[in-house]
């Protein structure tokens, strides 16, 4: 086993070890709660090494055995996977620190169970990033669904259970009804499921069937929250905020769009999609989702619900990038995974911090809260700017590339969609900050200061800011992804 294989194994096994450690130390709270951050750090360092090896043009893969002809139980890192692995593991460190502050601050029950499934979910996300083929991706996609169910239904109230049932129902049903059959279909026509640059479908595959297959993937991957398969995401917001932050802003939903993007790049091949025009309908559906969910977001007064609809809208940016299927657009989509992840996790961290420290969930009650929680609202403001796409925030890069990509693809109307969406973002994301800083307080609020809930959002906001200047650190990966 080479060094790189060892690193790959570490990054996959570490979250699981961390989950086991959580169980072992369930009675010693402080040791238990340090397992997450430590596991995250080790995983992240491995992920950095793996990403830099990929940038150097090396291949990193482990093949364990053959499940069936053409389907190996194997991990192989694609440039896109390396990028997603970095995001998931890096943000896990901060999220696990934040989790400690939040869970203790909110006095949640069953913290051990929570920490256990949290780590298992990250394991699934890492395995998705580093999957060598579509079947592996599917297996861990399902592991992710099942491991997040106990987190969604965590409070075990009737509401949480119903939300959990909706969550599982939609995600499992779509994956079994459409995603898995589509995988079988690919396997039947190409005899393999290996991720290969330029795609694996036979060249004479009829364009109409490509559209059908793409639809099976796009709707089968419920985690991408494309309308009308988006209802599970707002429902999942009943979970404690650390879940919404890491899983339903980063790991789970990004696993969804990552799958869509991986499939367009490594199964269909962007040139194949582009020449056949089989993905045009998907671009329009994504555009619709972007606008419709932004409009719904405006109507939501609950902060987490608003952020959830904002997430649905932003996920469709990535699906749009995949559907446009040009080099710039897919690069933009890949970068948007990073940019949106850092920004949206900040927003959720802030929402959770506001709840833990001031016990407020509604936007209309935020008036005058800014001076009392200044760091939180500054972080919220910066992250909002990144999502809107204003320099000097990281989000401006991905939006710029997506716009360039829509021109390349000959769909300039998408420029208008992106522009209108930015305007809507301005409206619904800046409102909380504006209320907090510029409106007089309407009622007296007792504010606590749980420091562990305040540091992580500040750090992620800083990362979001610095990504504007350090884009060259991650860009080589996306360039490698689209290089012929």
């Amino acid at each position: 086993m080479s060094d790189l294989q060892l690193l790959l194994a570490i990054s996959l096994v570490m979250p699981l070890l961390s989950a086991l450690a959580v169980l072992v130390f369930s009675n010693q709270e402080n040791i238990r709660d340090i397992c997450g951050p430590v596991g995250g750090l080790i995983t992240f360092i491995s992920a950095i090494f793996i990403a830099s090896a990929i940038m150097d043009g090396k291949t990193v893969s482990i093949t364990l055995w053959q499940i069936a002809p053409g389907i190996d139980f194997s991990f192989a890192v694609t440039p896109l996977g390396a990028l997603f692995g970095l995001v998931a593991s890096g943000l896990w460190i901060l999220a696990s620190i934040y989790t400690v502050g939040y869970m203790r601050g909110a006095k949640e029950k069953n913290q051990t169970r929570f920490a256990f499934y949290y780590a298992v979910a990250i394991h699934a996300a890492m395995a998705i990033s580093y999957s060598g083929n579509l079947m592996m991706l599917f297996i861990f996609y399902e592991v992710l669904t099942f491991s997040t169910y106990p987190l969604v239904a965590h409070s075990q109230t009737k509401e949480a259970r119903n939300a959990g049932r909706l969550y599982m129902g939609i995600l499992v049903a779509t994956s079994l009804l459409l995603f898995l059959p589509a995988i079988f279909w690919v396997w039947t026509v190409s005899g393999t499921l290996e991720f290969t640059k330029g795609g694996i479908l036979p060249a004479d595959f009829p364009p109409f069937l490509v559209s059908v297959m793409l639809a099976m993937f796009a709707f089968g991957i419920g985690k991408a929250a494309l309308m009308p398969i988006h209802r599970w995401l707002p429902a999942a917001m009943v979970a404690p905020t650390p879940v919404s932050a890491l899983l339903h802003a980063v790991a789970v939903v990004k696993a969804g769009v990552f799958s869509v993007l991986t499939i367009t790049v490594y199964i269909f091949g962007i040139d194949f999609l582009n020449t056949t025009g089989s993905a045009v309908w998907l671009a329009w559906l994504a555009a619709f989702t972007i606008l419709a969910s932004s409009i719904i977001a405006i109507t939501k007064d609950d902060l987490k619900a608003r952020l959830a609809y904002s997430t649905i809208s932003q996920l469709s940016y990535i699906v749009l990038g995949a559907a446009l299927a040009t080099a710039a657009a897919t690069e933009g989509a890949a970068l948007h995974i990073v940019m949106h992840a850092t920004a949206k996790i900040t927003l959720f961290f802030c929402a959770g911090a506001i709840y833990v420290n001031a016990h407020i969930k509604k936007i209309s009650e935020l008036d005058g809260l800014g001076p009392k929680l200044p760091l939180i609202f500054i972080a919220f403001f910066l992250a909002s700017l990144s999502i809107i796409g204003i320099p000097p925030m990281g989000g401006s890069w991905s939006k710029f590339l997506l716009m360039a990509g829509s021109v390349d693809a000959g769909m300039p109307l998408m420029l208008a969609v992106l522009a209108i969406s930015s305007l809507l973002n301005v409206y619904y994301l800046l409102e909380p900050c504006a209320r907090a800083f510029f409106k007089p307080a309407i009622k007296k609020v007792h504010v606590e200061n749980h420091i562990l809930t305040i540091i992580p959002p500040v750090v992620t906001a800083m990362i979001s800011l610095s990504l504007f200047f350090t884009i060259d650190w991650v860009r080589p990966l996306t360039t490698l992804m689209v290089m012929p």
């Binding site: 069936a68 599917f138 399902e142 499992v172 039947t188």
Partner: protein, 495 residues
């Protein structure tokens, strides 16, 4: 060597003779030991047969030196040798399981006789799997039916409805057998032969012959009853649910599978050239009936609260998958059917065994209301049960997934999106009943203490042996896949 040369005959003769001996043995424990030893010998011989077939491809064993087409032959090729191995393996495991379970479900003085009938049933399954003679098959069919009925009726000590179930099986099984033997009669009148290979040759010379077609139709109908194909499955749910647990697991695992194998051999190996019948039958009868079976079995299982009955209904759906794969009339369809025969036998066997242990634990029938929280009280059995359940859904890394993979391959090769939608929908529905069980057994609080001190290791060990094989076949699937492809090659030629 004398023994090696006569394995096909010994595989039937040894359990048959052992059965007579067992019935005379004084104590239940000795009787069990003798029966178990017999099944082990059969397993060893089955392995030998697999070795022989993998080097010689096919084997024809003529009884008493009477060469075919005059004498009775046993025919072995890659279509049935793995089935023989499957029957042998499941017999060993089920007999192991019976040690604890049968003793608790029927009277001690009946046990030696029960094991005698048990061996008789196993002998008949071997015979059914190997015979190449249409009438000889009828004989084994009858032995199998009578021994199964006796075994099912033994459940009467637990629940007297077992008697009705056995009686139903007797009547419906007899009708099926009569249909079959009428068919054989017609065919004999048309061709003058009972040897299946000889019949094929003569039918080709004969050309279109109404008597032969009528005969075949009767034979297929008769076999479908035995195989539990919808809508002539009606004996099956009650028979499986009221039989003693060990009997349910043996019958559910292999009894119908052997009939299905013979069904496939008739269709593809013997009568495939009578296209006007076979094509019509596959497309207009077997396919719709299979789809109905899948949806009927699955939906009825969702609404069923008795666990054994639920899994019996699920068996009807699973048999539907197998016959659906056959009805696609393609090489990959036949392969998929044979792969699922093996996988489903193991999965359903494990599930029935686990349900039996749960029922033993609470001291009454396993139902949705009586099983609350039992998963937590019997975690070892429950873990095996969950894995087998996952395999039933077709979760990756279990044997069930390989079945699903090849079934979908066969469907996609037809290019018919409607079939894809139907099968995908049914697989989602099957998640529902398993989820319901999981919710009841694991997420609910236990309501009553167990009637036994702890889970009996001698009962959950066989479950775990089955589950182990299921998991191994999910991970290293090469052998199962090549056995399925080999079966299709043997029946309709390599593609």
């Amino acid at each position: 060597m004398l023994i090696l040369d006569n394995i096909p005959a010994l595989l039937v003769a040894i359990p048959l003779l052992a059965s007579a001996v067992v019935s005379l043995l004084p104590s239940a424990r000795i009787a069990w030991g003798f029966a178990f030893f017999t099944t082990l010998i059969c397993l060893y011989m089955a392995f030998e047969l697999v070795g022989i077939i993998s080097s010689t491809q096919a084997l024809s064993y003529a009884f008493g030196g009477w060469e075919p087409p005059w004498g009775i032959v046993f025919v072995l090729d890659s279509a049935n040798v793995y089935l023989v191995l499957l029957v042998a393996f499941v017999s060993v495991i089920a007999t192991l399981y019976a040690y604890t379970m049968l003793a608790r479900e029927i009277a001690v003085e009946d046990l030696p006789k029960a094991y005698a009938v048990w061996l008789l049933a196993i002998a008949s399954l071997f015979g059914l799997a190997m015979t190449g003679d249409a009438f000889n098959l009828f004989v084994f069919l009858e032995i199998s039916a009578l021994s199964s009925i006796t075994l099912i009726a033994l459940g009467a000590g637990q629940d007297r409805r077992a008697l009705l179930a056995a009686y139903n099986y007797l009547i419906i099984g007899a009708i099926g057998a009569t249909f079959y033997v009428i068919g054989v009669g017609y065919l004999y009148a048309a061709t003058g032969s009972l040897n299946l290979i000889d019949i094929t040759d003569r039918l080709n010379e004969l050309g279109t012959n109404q008597a032969a077609i009528t005969g075949l139709a009767f034979m297929l109908a008769g076999i479908m009853v035995k195989a539990g194909v919808f809508p002539v499955h009606i004996w099956l749910p009650a028979a499986y649910s009221y039989a003693p647990s060990a009997v349910s697991s043996l019958l559910a695992a292999v009894a119908t599978k052997v009939a299905i194998y013979y069904f496939a051999r008739l269709l593809f190996g013997i009568f495939i050239d009578i296209t006007q019948l076979v094509d019509f039958f596959l497309l207009y009868i077997l396919m719709p009936v299979s789809v109905l079976a899948i949806f009927y079995g699955t939906i009825a299982a969702i609404y069923q609260s008795d666990f054994k009955r639920l899994f019996a209904l699920s068996s009807i759906a699973q048999i539907g998958y197998i016959t659906f794969a056959f009805s696609l009339n393609s090489h990959s369809g036949i392969s998929a059917g044979f792969i699922h025969i093996i996988n489903h036998a193991l999965i359903k066997g494990a599930l029935f065994m686990a349900v039996g242990i749960f029922a033993l634990g609470i001291g009454s029938r396993a139902t949705m209301s009586s099983m609350q929280g039992v998963g937590r009280q019997m975690p070892i059995t429950f873990a095996g049960f969950v894995l087998a359940g996952l395999a039933l859904i077709g979760v990756p890394l279990t044997a069930g997934f390989i079945s699903k993979l090849y079934l979908f391959k066969a469907i996609f090769e037809t290019g018919n999106g409607f079939y894809v939608a139907l099968i995908a929908l049914s697989s989602v529905l099957s998640v529902l009943y398993l989820w319901k069980i999981f919710e009841v057994m694991w997420l609910k609080e236990p309501v009553q203490p167990l009637k036994i001190d702890k889970e009996p290791a001698s009962a959950y060990l066989p479950v775990w042996l089955m589950v182990g094989v299921i998991m191994i076949f999910g991970v290293y699937s090469g052998e199962v896949i090549s056995s399925g492809i080999g079966a299709a090659n043997a029946l309709i030629g390599a593609r």
